[in-house]
Symmetry: C2
Subunit: 397 residues, 2 copies
């Protein structure tokens, strides 16, 4: 069966050029980058080159890039690293974040609350944009860190990071962003955004799983998350994942090269998908900001149906989508993001995230529209709730 993959916010396929770049390091160039002999030196050079490419993608200096095992580790390293060091230095114990962060940030913050830190979870508006007034009001002289994601992984809404960066800088507060869903999709420049720490992940941008990076602005100090050898300028211990790092470097290079074209391609496809579904299906609502969103992500709530049932129904037709974050799939809780933007639980449970990628075509989108209409109609036909509700609404109108 032909498969249509529309779950790129969960993970992306490796770009063939990324795999090609990795292959020498999966075969003959297998050295440990810390070794002084020839195998070691060729690994070291490959890592240096990748570091430059990642730095270039986000407007950073190579020495500000620390390679990690992925976005989650980067978030942990940034948040715990600042929190512990600042508390030790007597600077305070208050962290500000938002209520719609990825669990890598949220659960790290919840953990820190148990360790004596205080955390403010900012509310968001109906589009998922954080409340800047509340941000300003929350800041105290104990505030040591603001951590706000760049774009939300479920609904795609982009946060006003420049403004948050200005607020943080004026008050001398360290500012971290989880940019896993924006790096490579929209322009990201650490100076323009005013961030001190930024997490990114390779496998969201056609790079390999198991590798990511943390941007650490020059001068920003962190307590280490992983202790051991003096890798990564003594900031992250562990033998470097050379093929993974090379893959991330190549993915960064390709993202930079293809970004303008891909943004337009994805925006057009996603708008086509949204319009197509809304024309064919009744009682559908878009979640997230209609314009200030990453170009590949459309989140829709389908009234009277379970999102999980739609996912499974579409899967039967080879179409791969999700109800929200892959990291929480299988959970019965409604999405914390959709609850935070004020959705009723029934609507939150009836939502689908379509996250598009490079390879998607208009043909795939049209096929998806058709199958979504079919699946939702079939599910609604089986729902007594739907029949009653329709009768009632039609009666009222």
């Amino acid at each position: 069966m032909k498969r249509v993959y529309l779950d790129h916010n969960a993970t992306t396929p490796l770009h063939p050029e990324v795999l090609e770049a990795m292959m020498p390091y999966l075969t003959e160039k297998f050295g440990n980058a810390s070794s002084v002999h020839s195998y070691g030196r060729e690994a070291r050079e490959a890592i240096d080159e990748a570091r430059e490419k990642v730095a270039r993608l986000i407007g950073a200096r190579p020495e500000e890039i620390v390679f990690t095992s992925g976005g989650t580790e980067s978030d942990n390293m940034a948040i715990k690293g600042v929190a512990y060091l600042m508390r030790e230095r007597g600077k305070g114990n208050h962290i500000i974040t938002s209520s719609i962060e990825h669990h890598a940030v949220l659960n790290t913050c919840k953990y820190l609350e148990k360790k004596g830190f205080e955390v403010t979870y900012l509310r968001v508006d109906k589009y998922g944009v954080v409340d800047l007034d509340q941000l300003v009001d929350s800041i105290t002289d104990k505030t040591i860190l603001i951590t706000i994601m760049h774009a939300n992984n479920e609904i795609g809404t982009i946060q006003p990071l420049e403004e948050i960066g200005r607020i943080a800088k004026e008050r001398g507060i360290i500012f971290h962003t989880d940019a896993v869903q924006t790096v490579g999709k929209i322009p990201v420049n650490v100076d323009e955004l005013g961030v001190d720490l930024l997490s990114l992940s390779a496998h969201k941008i056609y790079g390999p799983k198991g590798v990511g990076a943390l941007y650490v602005r020059r001068g920003v100090r962190l307590e280490k998350l992983i202790h051991g050898g003096h890798h990564e300028r003594n900031r992250r211990a562990g033998t470097e994942n050379v093929p993974g790092i090379v893959g991330l470097g190549k993915a960064a290079e390709l993202a930079m090269k293809n970004m303008d074209e891909e943004r337009e391609h994805l925006w057009n496809l996603s708008e086509r998908l949204k319009r197509g579904i809304m024309e064919r299906v009744e009682y559908v609502y878009q979640n997230g900001h209609p314009e200030k969103r990453i170009p590949n992500t459309i989140n829709l709530s389908f009234e009277f149906v379970e999102g999980e049932s739609i996912v499974l129904g579409l899967d039967m037709h080879g179409i791969c989508v999700s109800t929200g974050s892959a990291c929480t799939s299988g959970s019965l809780e409604p999405s914390h993001v959709l609850m935070a933007i004020g959705l009723r639980p029934e609507l939150a449970h009836g939502s689908i995230r379509f996250s598009l990628g490079m390879g998607n075509t208009e043909e795939e989108i049209d096929y998806t529209i058709e199958k979504v209409a079919e699946v939702v109609e079939r599910l609604r036909m089986m729902s007594p709730l739907y029949a009653d509700a329709i009768k009632e609404r039609r009666g009222r109108s």
Copy 2:
């Protein structure tokens, strides 16, 4: 130039069958294992299969295996995980380790000392075997963890884990071992060794870099190192590195299959290397235990020469060896392991680790013997220290 790779304790090449097993997951089977659709399910199945293979290699149950980004992360997760949880439960704050651990353990312990834990660093004898009497004497009612490596990465000495395991069990103390250098090389069975936690790494056994595992005995609880999604049964957050995990699984399977043959092969080659060098070169001493060692590792001290110079001299002939741990190469400090076994600093500075692997041949070993003799002779000829010493010794005898 032909290259002879004798630095397998730093890292190993990917086994071609490992790469072959990984390839589908680097190409068409790219799903996120947490996704519920078909791409996700095939990734999940691959991880489950790999988990069984890793468990089988060490005599564990699949659900006791937690995949990590490598040996260093596994060590951090085990040691910090036990330390923080046990302290919180009021069980104590004392950790016992050895003075010759890998830096992933040593530096984690040093970090914990700053956080209010007490650490005993056991001494070792001239072969690098930990002092069991001192171990028993060190235990107090505050002791929460014993962490002793299985075999040393620099000198290859195998520790009496069964006895340590018995001591730990009798006293109800959790026992962790860094088995990065033994898993896949010699039989490792978690029940026979009596360990509760065991770190292993893929890239030391012909698997990929950037992936490892921590064995966690059923019932042993840890505080998490990396917070986020509910991956790995809620023990280690972050999108699973599917190709890496599949590679580790395949490497475990191959290690099990090839172990008996490889042990003999490596033991014979390494003895041939040692004998050959000792016959050709004067003033050479073996470091580590002559019998209780992993079969692939020979560490030799060459009097009157710098190990670093030998490494570079051999590199000119395409031979790749190291002075000790790759993780500390470039450091000017003498090896903490060699100092702990009582070597004079000059001898510690003059040591070379030869760590052999599957692909090595007798021909390569003979070539190495010849080149070691040449390089060491040339270096000694340039050393006034050597000339004086020889004169003096010959005069005495």
